[in-house]
Amino acid sequence: MGLPGFYLRRAYSLFRGEVLVLPSRVAVFIFALGVLLLPLFSQDPYLLRILIFTSIFAILAASWDLLSGFTGQMNFGHALFFGVAAYCTALLNLRLDLPPWISIPLGALGAVLAGLIIGIPCLRLRGTYLALTTLAFPIILMGVIFAIPDITGGELGLSGIDRLSGSRLTDYYITSVLMLGLGFIMWKITDSKTGIILHAIREDEVAVRSSGINTTRYKLLAFCLSGFFAGIAGGLYAHIMRTAGPSTLEVALSFQIVIWAVFGGIVSIYGPIAGVFILFPLLEFLRIMPKIRMLVFAFIVLVTLLYMPQGLIPWLRDKIEKECPRCKIRNVTTRKTCRICTAELD
């Protein structure tokens, strides 16, 4: 057996201790496995295309959750990050001939910059004020885009961008692996000390400030982080669509992001991802009734919310798991006692 065997056993016990104990984690694991293995079963170009977009928008929705869900900084103009990054990526690729693996991260940095620029004036605002102010930024930018058509292409947008990779399958793996990876990173961020502070800001900003924490800095950090992840999504989108147009900044997209995230369940990262993975394919599936497609979609969202106002995933999670009243650790519903502190579970 030797060393490899040791690591293998170590990995297995880690897997058993961290993943298998909770049905939710098992589900995430199966989901990730499913996403990665799917091409073995079907390489239908249409299916892959849908899933590529699903992955891109999943990153976007999760990045919204990172900012708005965790920090409570309701962002109604999240399309700004997406659009800025899409345009930056497109310009870098078209003007400087940078390949996708450079243009996408640089485009995302553009979105970070946008996050800083709008983050600073927005720091003084909170709640609904913030939500409604952020809505304005993509629209202002849209005006700028129409004002300088020589650079931005006006309403036609920029086209002729390089492909992400040569083949649909590679595109699929790039986007889905990025989605899983970035999703995991975002989840880790929210689980870290920074994440806890962000969460605390949402709950009670005054209390956090009085604990000697510079909340301003953390809120700005949240804007930048969120902008970065949303920017990656925007860059990917530009290279997949091979065009970056004003449609990336539309109010409808900003609204769509909020719908995905809230439907899936905010303050969880995986909730919004699940939300996109359900709603985006659903919208495609509804093409079987093309005329009333959007209407049915909106109704499904409305009715689901009536029964699960916290979002779909938290609702399901509470069905199969419960929180230990003493140590706040999650347990399978079938357990009588907590797996950590052995307290009675009711």
Partner: protein
């Protein structure tokens, strides 16, 4: 040119004011950010279109009827979709977005994406100091101003108005004083949407109807409400005229940049917020914990 700026600014301002005050009211009383607000405005406009083109109703009858209809509809929607989830702020938010989508799609299915129009109630124009202004514009302006006055009476001089204002000021205390907060919220929903309906009725003969006409006023309305201070009626009123005049000035003074009017108005809003984060007349809400 001055006359045009004043007339157009006043009309747009009054329409924005009708929309923004209604929105402000429901936000103040029930803390509901009603994205579907302007969707109801659009719905009222379409009702009038139907009344005129299909039922042959006189606009003088169809206008009040459609205003009432959207008010009633909004109360029903509120009862079914919003009241049960009122504690969940985010859920209410997207419920109203979804509601707006439902209205938009329903209109799209019923009328297609065609541009529609209703002929003016009065045709012709007057020439004031060399500038032509249509009678319809005057009519729109006077109806809007009358409606605003009516709302002012309702809020300031009636018992219902007192109830609304007190709930807006402090929900919990109002509740403790024996007011049925849930019912007040419901009534407010109806009133605020009816104001949107009036705005819709006013613009019907002036504007072109299409199922996406709710987007631009929505954005302007949100900007106005933030500019004036959330929940402040006075703020919404003043904000509406500021934004409307900003838009009109851009159109008149830089014709080549007329398309920038929305961007300029929104930039003004952001500048104001930089200086006064709670808006012009905003009351800094107590930290709601």
């Amino acid at each position: 040119m001055i006359q045009n700026i004043i007339i157009n600014g006043l009309i747009n301002g009054s329409i924005y004011a009708l929309l923004a005050i209604g929105f402000s009211l429901i936000f103040g009383v029930a803390r509901i950010v009603n994205i579907a607000h302007t969707a109801f405005y659009m719905l009222a406009a379409y009702f009038i279109y139907v009344g005129f083109h299909y039922l042959g109703m006189s606009p003088y009858i169809s206008m009040p009827l459609s205003v009432l209809a959207v008010g009633l509809l909004s109360i029903i929607c509120y009862k079914i979709f919003i009241q049960p989830i009122r504690e969940h702020e985010a859920a209410v938010l997207i419920a109203t977005i979804a509601l707006a989508m439902v209205i938009q799609e329903a209109l799209l299915i019923a009328f297609g994406g065609h541009y529609l129009g209703v002929p003016p109630l009065v045709s012709g124009y007057a020439t004031i100091a060399g500038v032509k202004v249509t009678y319809q514009h005057f009519l729109a302006l006077s109806v809007a101003v009358l409606a605003l006055f009516g709302v002012w009476i309702l809020l300031m001089k009636t018992k219902l108005g007192l109830a609304l204002r007190s709930t807006a000021q402090d929900r919990e205390v109002a509740n403790l004083m024996g007011m049925n907060e849930a019912r007040v919220a419901m009534v407010t929903m109806g009133i605020s949407v009816m104001m949107a309906g009036i705005a819709g009725a006013v613009v019907v003969p002036l504007y072109v109807l299409d199922p996406h006409m709710w987007m631009h006023p929505l954005i302007m309305m949100l900007a106005i409400v933030v500019l004036g201070g959330l929940g402040s009626i006075k703020g919404s009123f003043v904000g509406a005229y500021i934004m409307a005049f900003a838009e009109v000035l851009v159109v008149f003074l830089i014709p080549m940049g007329a398309f920038l009017k929305g961007s300029v108005a929104l930039s003004i809003m952001i500048l104001v917020l930089l200086i006064r984060p709670e808006g012009l007349f905003g009351v800094a809400f107590e930290e709601e914990r």
